[in-house]
């Protein structure tokens, strides 16, 4: 194997090298010079983005003996992963500093998780998919537990770990059955084998059931969602921000690679499962979110419902559907960054700003941040002219295309339920008077980024075409 055959994986290799370097540097610098690690992490992300852009692939290139594929879908998703991670780092810096969590471990774990996600989005083989997933998961478990003296965080990490391990087990079990039926772990071979037809229907269907259950665990779709509220609530907000954004993009890619590429011909088998998961997620997520008084928990349930919506796009099983699901997940990541980022921005030393009441009267304290939050909330509710509307529109369109009009009707009914709790945040910010009138102090870079984040929701809402075209094109050239 020549050195050149590693070229498609250059961003991953660069990332691995840099993380290792940062790990060494972290051990060497003391707490006062921690900013070196911060800057270096951002530079690493920029470097990886540069390498990815340098080698945008118009046609999929299989590499490393079929374990790894370099295609446009992977490249685009990776670029968004870098961006999301960078935003997470900027938003959480002050928060971490004030809580004594501004340590090298955070950066190393975040970048390792990112590396895992990069492997996931570019995997073309069950083995690499699983390796990437585990690298991501193990990093996230450790991140949640990073605040060692917090009982809730430790409990959240424990739950996350146990349930995550269970899900991985299910996934592996399902993969092994599919291997038994097709005799291969490579997605392309599996797709080929299944397209030719197989007599082993029962083991195959069992395998698909286990795989879908495992995927549903990772996505946090009902009824495999139990870990989501506890982990989102228990983890320090900076970790929640990370868990709630980038890994969703990777999970989308993961689902798409397995179901859309490997098990493409079995769409009739997995579609009905996803329909049930999607409807339950939208129902439970939206109704349970209404009852929450903690914002992080509310967003956790809202995530569940958003994942249900995203599944609508995937279950269509068409290029259009995959494109719309991709658009949905990218838009969701953008909104989720803004939502959790706002909690970080409003928190101070010893004050978490994660109760709904903490947003009371925000329009009096900071009209601009209140306006940004308003945009984010209306976008999550799917009200035009924000981008959340087009995300919902595009997935609705893909389910109506396959003739599931009733599913679209169910989806809009649940999104009406969802609108209620997003409106409640707007109500708290605009209609109510503040309890606490301290002005909001936050670092200028985080504030600037937050403004950009909110305006992006609006700008993409007025001109959604570029992002939509990227998604459709990426899916079209890669599948």
């Amino acid at each position: 194997m020549s050195l050149m055959s590693f070229a498609p994986a250059l961003p991953e290799i660069f990332m691995l090298a840099m993380v290792s370097l940062i790990l060494v540097i972290t051990a060497a610098v003391d707490d006062n010079r921690r900013s070196i690690v911060y800057v270096l992490s951002l530079l690493t992300l920029a470097g990886a983005a540069f390498l990815t852009l340098l080698d945008l692939s118009a046609v999929p290139v299989l590499a490393l003996g079929g374990l790894f594929v370099d295609d446009l879908l992977g490249d685009v998703l990776k670029l968004f992963l870098y961006l999301t991670t960078a935003v997470v780092l900027v938003y959480s810096r002050d928060y971490l500093k004030l809580r004594g969590l501004y340590k090298g471990e955070f950066f190393v774990l975040a970048l390792f998780a990112l590396l895992g996600m990069m492997v996931m989005v570019s995997a073309s083989h069950f083995l690499t998919l699983y390796l990437g997933l585990e690298l991501l998961s193990l990093s996230l478990y450790a991140m949640v537990a990073l605040q060692r003296d917090s009982a809730v965080a430790t409990e959240a990490a424990m739950k996350y770990f146990v349930l995550g391990a269970l899900a991985s087990g299910m996934l592996l079990y399902g993969m092994s059955m599919v291997y038994g039926v097709t005799g291969s772990l490579a997605l392309a071979d599996i797709a080929q084998n299944l397209a030719d037809g197989t007599d082993l229907r029962i083991p195959l269907v069992f395998g698909i059931v286990f795989i879908v259950a495992g995927l549903a665990f990772k996505l946090g779709a009902v009824p495999f969602h139990m870990w989501v509220p506890d982990v989102y609530h228990g983890a320090p907000t900076a970790m929640t921000l990370f868990i709630g954004s980038a890994p969703k993009i990777a999970a989308f890619a993961f689902v798409l690679r397995i179901l859309g590429q490997g098990l493409e011909s079995q769409v009739a088998e997995w579609r009905d499962m996803l329909v049930i998961l999607a409807v339950l997620s939208m129902a439970v997520g939206n109704f349970a979110a209404i009852a929450q008084s903690n914002l992080k928990r509310m967003f956790a349930y809202s995530t569940i419902s958003h994942m249900g919506f995203m599944l609508l796009g995937i279950l269509a099983g068409t290029q259009n559907g995959y494109g719309s699901a991709m658009f949905y997940v990218l838009v969701y990541a953008l909104m989720s960054l803004g939502g959790f980022g706002m909690i970080l921005l409003l928190s101070r030393a010893g004050f978490e700003a994660d109760q709904l009441d903490d947003f009371r009267g925000l329009n009096r304290r900071s009209p601009w941040l209140a306006f940004v939050m308003l945009l984010l909330m209306f976008s999550m509710a799917g009200i035009p002219p924000t981008v959340g509307f087009y995300a919902k529109l595009s997935v609705l369109q893909s389910v109506i295309e396959i003739g599931y009009v009733w599913l679209a009707v169910a989806a809009v009914v649940f999104s009406l339920v969802g609108a209620f709790y997003y409106l409640r945040i707007v109500k708290l910010m605009y209609f109510d008077e503040p309890h606490d009138t301290t002005s909001v102090v936050s670092s200028p870079d985080a504030r600037l980024l937050m403004s950009a984040n909110g305006l992006a929701v609006l700008a993409l809402g007025i001109l959604p075409q570029p992002l939509m075209a990227v998604c459709v094109h990426a899916v079209g050239t890669s599948l």
């Binding site: 002219p385 609705l396 109500k427 209609f431 075209a469």
Partner: protein, 493 residues
């Protein structure tokens, strides 16, 4: 410039609103007010060429603009007006100016946000009236909920939160089902969101019936029709004066406009089939809601119920399927825009002085506010449908049209002339005449120059339209006749 009149009509108020918002805190309130006034006047001025350059001899869309917007979904930035939408655009741009002036002194808190919300909403409403692409329409249609939600919730009365939520969720519920219909139409029409293409798309009866019901819910909530009207009295009572004016004069018309632009031409067979349903609901609105209005103790609530009854006339007229009924309905829409705006402004004038909307707190107003009482009299008469006011023209045309179709429709509809007169004039009597019972009324001052200006302009509109409605019907006539011919043709495959 002349090619982009409609874009200007939509975007000038929105840009002005953003500029007003940028003036920031209440320290700059005077600047925000003047900027808002300039923006709303500019918005009206750019809309005037629509009236002067309008060709009344064609039903085709005029001032059309079309550019690709979201090619992935085949969505276009497609604007245009015909005889049905053009008067509504003007009405909206005109009302915005009134609203800005009406809120001049009353609003002292978060002035910039208040003015900006109205300007942005005005632009969005113009967008809804002029959009010829389904998704573009939907974006404007839903987008206008955001500023209105804030207007009711931030500057409203004591129960504003309840009213704002109810209003928002009711409207959203209807429009989401409409969105599903839009996407369904997209596939039925071979991948187009163009409204005029949808007018030609053939559809089976089941699909038409389901879509009819979805559209009816979407626009029926907005109109509002009995029994989904309950959000309106709540929203009106809690909204600030400007909010009530815009709600009554404009946003209700968006619902009625939806009937002509979407329901009737897109699902004509279902519309004929289910006309009895709409006619029944409309007659209930006219007769029953008229009785409900009679017993209201709160003036705003009374006018809110009266709005529902008057809008019942509009929907009734549309489902009689004859030109007189349609034109009557359209005239009634415009007239109700003037009259309800004027009445809410009158109530606003009283509320600003006494901070009460209860009828029992007033009495003998004419002794202290003679000029105001005279204006109020005129608008009350117009609301009751007195000949020579605009309120008479539309109602008379619809009743005439109803007689042609079925005597009993006309009979029930005509009860409004009794109920309308009863509830309006009885309220007027209790508020304005009699002896002064409330000591506070003793100290009231008559309307100032700003308020007189508002009243005089609206009085001119009400009388002008009542005495000489021909310019309005001329503008509509060709569009109405052609659309009616289109609706007469079956679209069954």
């Amino acid at each position: 410039m002349s090619d982009h009149i409609l874009s200007l009509v939509v975007w000038v108020p929105i840009v002005a609103g953003v500029l007003v918002l940028a003036t920031g805190s209440d320290r700059n309130a005077p600047l925000a007010r003047w900027l808002a006034l300039a923006g709303s006047l500019l918005g009206l001025i750019v809309a005037l060429p629509l009236a002067t350059g309008f060709d009344t001899s064609t039903s085709a869309m005029q001032f059309v603009e079309k550019a690709p917007w979201i090619p992935t979904f085949n969505v276009f930035y497609h604007l245009g007006v015909d005889g049905i939408s053009m008067p509504l655009v003007l009405l909206n741009s005109f009302t915005t100016v009134l609203v800005v002036i009406a809120g001049w002194q009353v609003i002292q808190d978060r002035v910039a946000q208040y003015m900006a919300a109205f300007l942005i909403m005005s632009g969005l409403i113009n967008g809804a009236f002029t959009a010829l692409d389904g998704i573009l329409f939907y974006v404007f249609f839903e987008g206008m909920l955001i500023p209105l939600y804030l207007i009711v919730g931030v500057w409203g009365g004591p129960n504003r939160v309840y009213a704002a939520f109810k209003f928002f969720l009711y409207t959203l519920a209807g429009s989401l089902l409409m969105l599903v219909s839009f996407v369904y139409l997209y596939y039925q029409s071979g991948g187009s969101f163009d409204i005029q293409t949808w007018h030609k798309t053939t559809l089976g009866m089941t699909a038409q019936t389901l879509m009819f019901l979805a559209f009816l819910l979407a626009f029926g909530v907005k109109v509002p029709m009995w029994p989904v009207h309950t959000w309106l009295p709540d929203a009106h009572v809690e909204a600030p004066t400007g909010g009530s004016v815009v709600l009554a004069a404009i946003t209700l018309k968006v619902g009625a406009y939806g009937f002509l632009r979407f329901i009737l031409p897109i699902v004509p067979d279902a519309s004929h089939e289910l006309a009895w349903l709409v006619i029944a609901l409309s007659l209930i609105a006219v007769a029953y809601i008229g009785l409900v209005a009679l017993v209201q103790a709160d003036m705003k609530k009374l006018i809110a119920y009266s709005s529902i009854a008057h809008m019942g006339f509009v929907t009734l007229g549309f489902f009689l399927f004859n030109p007189l009924g349609w034109e009557g309905g359209l005239v009634q829409m415009i007239s109700h825009g003037f009259v309800s705006a004027a009445l809410f402004l009158c109530i606003g004038v009283m509320y600003d002085r006494l901070h009460s909307r209860q009828i029992k707190d007033y009495g003998g107003l004419v002794n202290r506010m003679p000029v105001f009482a005279a204006f109020f009299m005129l608008f009350a008469m117009a609301n009751a449908g007195l000949p020579a006011t605009s309120g008479f023209v539309g109602e008379f045309m619809v009743i005439m049209a109803a007689v042609e179709v079925n005597f009993w429709y006309a009979f029930v509809a005509a009860t409004t002339l009794i109920f309308g007169a009863a509830y309006t004039l009885w309220m007027y009597k209790r508020v304005v005449f009699g002896t002064v019972t409330n000591p506070h009324v003793e100290h009231l001052s008559d309307i100032n120059a700003r308020e007189t200006l508002l009243m005089a302009v609206l009085a001119a509109c009400v009388l002008g339209m009542g005495l000489y409605p021909k310019p309005f019907t001329d503008v509509m006539h060709v569009s109405v006749v052609d659309l009616l011919a289109h609706v007469g043709q079956s679209k069954l495959p």
